[in-house]
Symmetry: C2
Amino acid sequence: MNPPFNGSNLKNEAYIEVINKRPFTQVIELLQSAGLRPTRQRMALARILFNEGNRHVAAEDLHRDAKKANIRVSLATVYNTLHQFASAGLLREMVVEPGRAYFDTNLSSHHFFFEDTGNIEDIPDNLISISHLPKIPKGTALNRVDVVLRLRTSEQVKI
Amino acid sequence: MNPPFNGSNLKNEAYIEVINKRPFTQVIELLQSAGLRPTRQRMALARILFNEGNRHVAAEDLHRDAKKANIRVSLATVYNTLHQFASAGLLREMVVEPGRAYFDTNLSSHHFFFEDTGNIEDIPDNLISISHLPKIPKGTALNRVDVVLRLRTSEQVKI
DNA sequence: TTACATGCAAAGCATTTGCAGATAA
DNA sequence: TTATCTGCAAATGCTTTGCATGTAA
């Protein structure tokens, strides 16, 4: 199966360059199985997101990375794509700072948050365990548990 | 000790009305012990915040409540005040939704978040316990642990 | 061909800032 | 009196929207 874009179109050179790196069939399958049309932009963004380990990106970051890779996408499309990926379950939206949304390629929901730098780091699920949970209010179901360990550069040692 | 404002000033009627309800000396002491000058606006906002159990407010909410109580404060001052209270340790800033900051009068850091309504509810510290924590990265200290239990109206029962 | 995706610029919010005037100590 | 606080409006920064154009199926 060939990548579904017009390979002879000059405007597509950047996409060719990106998409010709393997694995690209996986990306197409990933999008298709999520019910998303594998457009050039989505494929390119998916490759940036999923091809090198876990990432935590704000829309701005991904947009910058795309530019760096010579991929022309508008910021609005990056936002749309991130939300589409998130509702398809490919990404998890996370909230650690007011005024900025991050998306995590790792679906685990536990994180270090470095307050000084704004950096985020995953905590593998097996490294954290909650032994007691409160009763879940009637009429609701637990969707997920987010744990954020907020860190400061040490000196002031607080609990 | 008298409330430190000009009681004969007509503009201050609303403040008088608010502040004359007890306890106001506590509010003054609270602010002073936090190193904050007990100005009329801060006293009025502190009373709204701390005089009736635990609250989770966005700046907009507090501003609205102040208006309802006939207190004239600008939204900018509400924002400033909330942040001042938070860095003084009187409030805790919390982030559950992108694009909006909440402040919690309860310093406990665990919450239910009702995804459908946006409501927030405290979880008493003793109802949740974390039995394993990962190693804290070198050069940093754990500032706090935030746990958010995200709830949906039940039907789709997920873990 | 047709429904869906994209790009751009404009609009929308929450939040912050700058500065002149007010106020607590 | 002086350092600090407040109010207003403008500025900022992130995110969403509307709509014409482009593209996948």
